[in-house]
């Protein structure tokens, strides 16, 4: 039926391809600016979806994760494979890097084998032509048995033709089933025999393509073997036949059967390339190799890395925080200013409905606003990381740093996440840090990085350090800060090492990473990346963090204390005093009331209840309450301290008076202060980070684990410092 204007055909398309093949650019070129971004169920693999129009059809396009193959050894590959098998899209587009045809065809061959309706997008054809690679597109199409369309995704060239080819394939899928891949007589015979058996099995027939299943069984693919075991009508017979085929192939070739299959695919790809490509005589990858000889140089490489990391740091934390000359305020200050105005606009409620006022200003605006204030920072960070990713430099960072971080069970790319989280000391934020772990493809490395990145010194911990250091170490401030910075790395790397040994155990994903050719990133690509990730962050602030903010507010607001004794004191003061003295006295009484209120609240009772334990680290109830506030956001610690010490809510930027108060308090000592600094450094990541870990690890269990282990570790460290200090007689 020919499509008409009034009733466009709805088709489902999936985009597959190697990483660095321009897959994402093509997805963007096809779908325009509107995407839904999420994760595939149960895994942390990012899923992007959009719509494309062409040829009278509306395509719902899913961007599959970039993969080199379709084995069961990585989450990305399994997701891509299962999507094609289970969702059965009307058409699969395989994006192939024309400048690197042979390696890219290896994946195309596997999709062909799945007998999925396929269109090959021969992407970056311009780059290939510049390298004088002359590809015969028609010949490639006839050799693969599928339509091939030349594209330049970053310029949008070829997308119309691509959609036309997709519509054609989807209209008549049976006519567009690609050719079978031949592995040579001996293997083909075994595959054919096994496929015959599968096609007669009641449980497997119709669910899978028999030939594909046969090849996968011969490849010893564990996920496929498990599926056969659970679904087949006679799993025993099929298992036995598969073992027989594997044995026959292995004795015939003297080689592992999966090697034989992989070689067959590579051989097919190489044969195709030989026939449709006239190889140039110029040596390959001249430009990339020249740049690598600088960026990966023994001495120059690390120096350049330090410069780039420093540049990242400066641009994220200085640009976003200190660009006041351009806008009058820094972007972060503008955000804070906006939320303060919003809070002020509620002030008319204060007298009429104090409860609602407190909920709106302290709970919702305070909580969500605190998180939203990071948006400018996060935007700049994502833009910088997007540029690093799109140029290909992130892979070089991993190459240069890998050996050092391997010692601690991490890998080269972990360094980026740790630096964004505050690894340079003096600022940072674990939320974008945890998000930056997306560049790590190895799942276990990624998880451990995610768990230790929050131990770095983020910007929100700094006011606590500065307040305590000013109070107790006034003459050696810089030295103490340096020690704190050093400790954060020691603790984080040590924790990574232990976590790797004890919690995230198991075999390391074999570290083989492509160093992609350098590219000049496109503005559109960078902006798209930046926007999508920033939006994901904003959305989270509006949902989960909103909910937790309300809960935290509730814990600190209820139950209420009786206000009448304070009102009586104010009345007495009003009768006796006047002028400025009266204002000061009323303020002091209000501060006392706030302290009493805080102590009486659920959080306060919790803080008092914890004293028998926390005293081991030297923390009293006031400290405990402040630290409970810090579970929500570390920014709250100093403010809550202020309330607990009857000083009103202290601005984290102006802590002098609080410092003086603590310095003169006989209850406090240097040892206590340093124990508290260590605890604040390590203990539970803030709410925003916990939610990010939840989202990025795909499991709330890891978010809870990170909270639990960090709090226990922090407490152990604080107890060690406090008790050790007392034992050494430093307590006075």
């Amino acid at each position: 039926m020919p499509p008409t204007e009034s009733s466009p055909r709805h088709l489902r398309a999936a985009i597959a391809g190697n990483p660095n093949s321009g897959k994402t650019s093509l997805f963007n070129a096809l779908t325009g600016s509107y995407h839904a971004v999420g994760n595939y169920p149960g895994v942390t693999v990012e899923r992007r979806e959009g719509y494309a129009r062409g040829n009278g059809c509306i395509f719902r396009v899913v961007d599959l994760p970039g993969t080199y193959s379709l084995t069961a050894y990585s989450a990305e590959e399994e997701v891509a494979r299962n999507f094609v098998i289970e969702q059965r899209p009307d058409v699969v587009v395989d994006v192939v890097d024309a400048a690197n045809l042979e390696r890219n065809l290896y994946l195309a061959v596997q999709i062909i084998e799945m007998e999925a309706p396929l269109v090959v997008a021969l992407n970056m054809i311009d780059v290939a032509r510049r390298r004088r690679l002359d590809i015969d597109v028609d010949k490639l199409s006839s050799l693969l048995g599928v339509p091939v369309v030349a594209t330049q995704a970053h310029r949008g060239v070829g997308t119309r033709e691509l959609l036309a080819a997709c519509a054609q394939v989807a209209a008549d899928p049976e006519r567009h089933i690609p050719k079978q891949i031949r592995y040579g007589h001996h293997v083909d015979e075994q595959v054919g025999h096994l496929a015959g058996l599968i096609s007669h099995d009641e449980g497997l027939r119709g669910r899978f393509r028999p030939r594909w299943l046969a090849v996968k069984l011969i490849e010893k693919d564990s996920a496929v073997a498990d599926q056969v075991a659970s679904l087949a009508a006679d799993p025993g017979a099929i298992r036995a036949a598969a073992d027989h085929a594997i044995h026959s192939i292995e004795t015939h070739f003297g080689e592992h059967s999966e090697s034989v299959i992989a070689e067959g695919r590579h051989g097919f790809a190489a044969g195709v390339v030989r026939e449709c490509l006239r190889l140039p005589t110029v040596p390959l990858r001249t430009r990339t190799d020249r740049i690598d000889s600088v960026t990966c140089h023994r001495v120059g490489g690390p120096i350049i890395l330090v410069c780039v990391v420093y540049g990242l740091f400066v641009s994220v934390f200085k640009v976003a925080d200190e660009w006041s000359w351009l806008f009058g305020k820094s972007p972060t200050e503008w955000m804070e200013w906006a939320f303060e105005r919003l809070a002020e606009s509620c002030s008319s409620l204060q007298a009429r409905a104090p409860l609602l006022h407190s909920l709106l200003t302290d709970g919702i605006i305070g909580g969500v606003g605190g998180v939203m204030a990071f948006v400018p920072l996060i935007l700049v960070m994502f833009a910088f990381v997007a540029v690093l990713e799109d140029t290909g430099y992130v892979a070089r960072v991993a190459f240069v740093m890998d050996r050092l971080l391997k010692v601690f069970g991490l890998q080269g790319k972990s360094i980026l996440a740790m630096i964004v989280s505050g690894g340079l000391g003096g600022g940072g934020c674990a939320v974008p840090g945890v998000m930056a772990t997306r560049t790590l493809r190895e799942e276990k490395d990624r998880l451990v990085t995610m768990l230790v990145a929050p131990l770095m010194n983020c910007g929100a911990k700094m006011p606590v350090y500065l307040m305590l250091i000013a109070a107790f170490f006034p003459r050696i401030q810089a030295r103490i800060l340096f020690v704190v910075w050093l400790m954060s790395w020691i603790v984080a790397l040590g924790a990574a090492w232990v976590l790797r040994k004890a919690v995230v155990r198991g075999e390391q994903t074999p570290f083989v990473m492509e160093l992609p050719p350098y590219h000049v990133p496109t503005l559109r690509g960078v902006l798209m990346h930046t926007w999508e990730r920033t939006w994901a962050y904003v959305r989270k602030a509006g949902t989960v963090i909103l909910a937790v903010s309300v809960i935290m507010w509730f814990l600190m607001y209820f139950p209420r204390v009786d206000a009448s004794p304070f009102e009586e004191r104010i009345a007495v003061a009003q009768a006796e005093l006047g002028g400025e003295e009266l204002v000061a006295v009323i303020q002091a009484i209000r501060n006392d009331q706030a302290t009493a209120q805080l102590r009486n609240s659920v959080a306060g009772r919790l803080g008092s209840g914890l004293v028998p334990v926390s005293q081991w680290a030297g923390f009293d109830w006031r400290t405990n309450i402040s630290l409970i506030g810090g579970f929500a956001a570390k920014e709250l610690v100093v403010g809550t301290f202020g309330v607990a010490y009857s000083m009103g809510n202290v601005d984290p930027d102006a802590t002098d008076s609080l410092s003086n108060r603590l310095a003169t308090d006989p209850q406090w000592s240097r040892v206590k202060a340093f124990a508290l600094i260590m605890f604040v450094m390590v203990y539970a990541p803030c709410m925003a980070t916990q939610v990010t870990i939840w989202r990025e690890s795909g499991s709330v269990r890891w978010a809870l684990f990170s909270t639990a282990y960090a709090t226990l570790l922090g407490f152990a460290l604080a107890v060690l410092v406090y008790q050790g200090g007392l034992a050494l007689g430093l307590g006075q």
């Binding site: 010893k220 590579h266 690390p302 890998d402 083989v512």
Partner: protein, 75 residues
């Protein structure tokens, strides 16, 4: 001892003979194009000597030595 990828010095070229190691390691190497008969060239070592950068089938790969030792090459 058979020669492996680890034994290549920067600038050396060779041909892959055989891939050993567990299923995951072998599959990963095969998927990245390191198969019997493929020609490989070592470009450089990372600043701390590991991983190594090699080219195979027109792409550049960084491989940790702990993985590269499973790739036997012609001497």
């Amino acid at each position: 001892m058979a020669r492996t990828l680890v034994d290549l010095a920067p600038g050396d070229e060779s041909v892959v003979l055989r891939i050993e190691g567990s299923g995951a390691i072998r599959q990963r190497l095969l998927d990245m194009g390191i198969t019997r008969g493929a020609s490989v060239r070592c470009y450089r070592l990372a600043p701390l000597g590991d991983p190594i950068e090699i080219s195979v089938k027109g792409s550049l790969l960084a491989i940790r030595k702990s993985v590269a030792k499973f790739v036997q090459i012609e001497s």
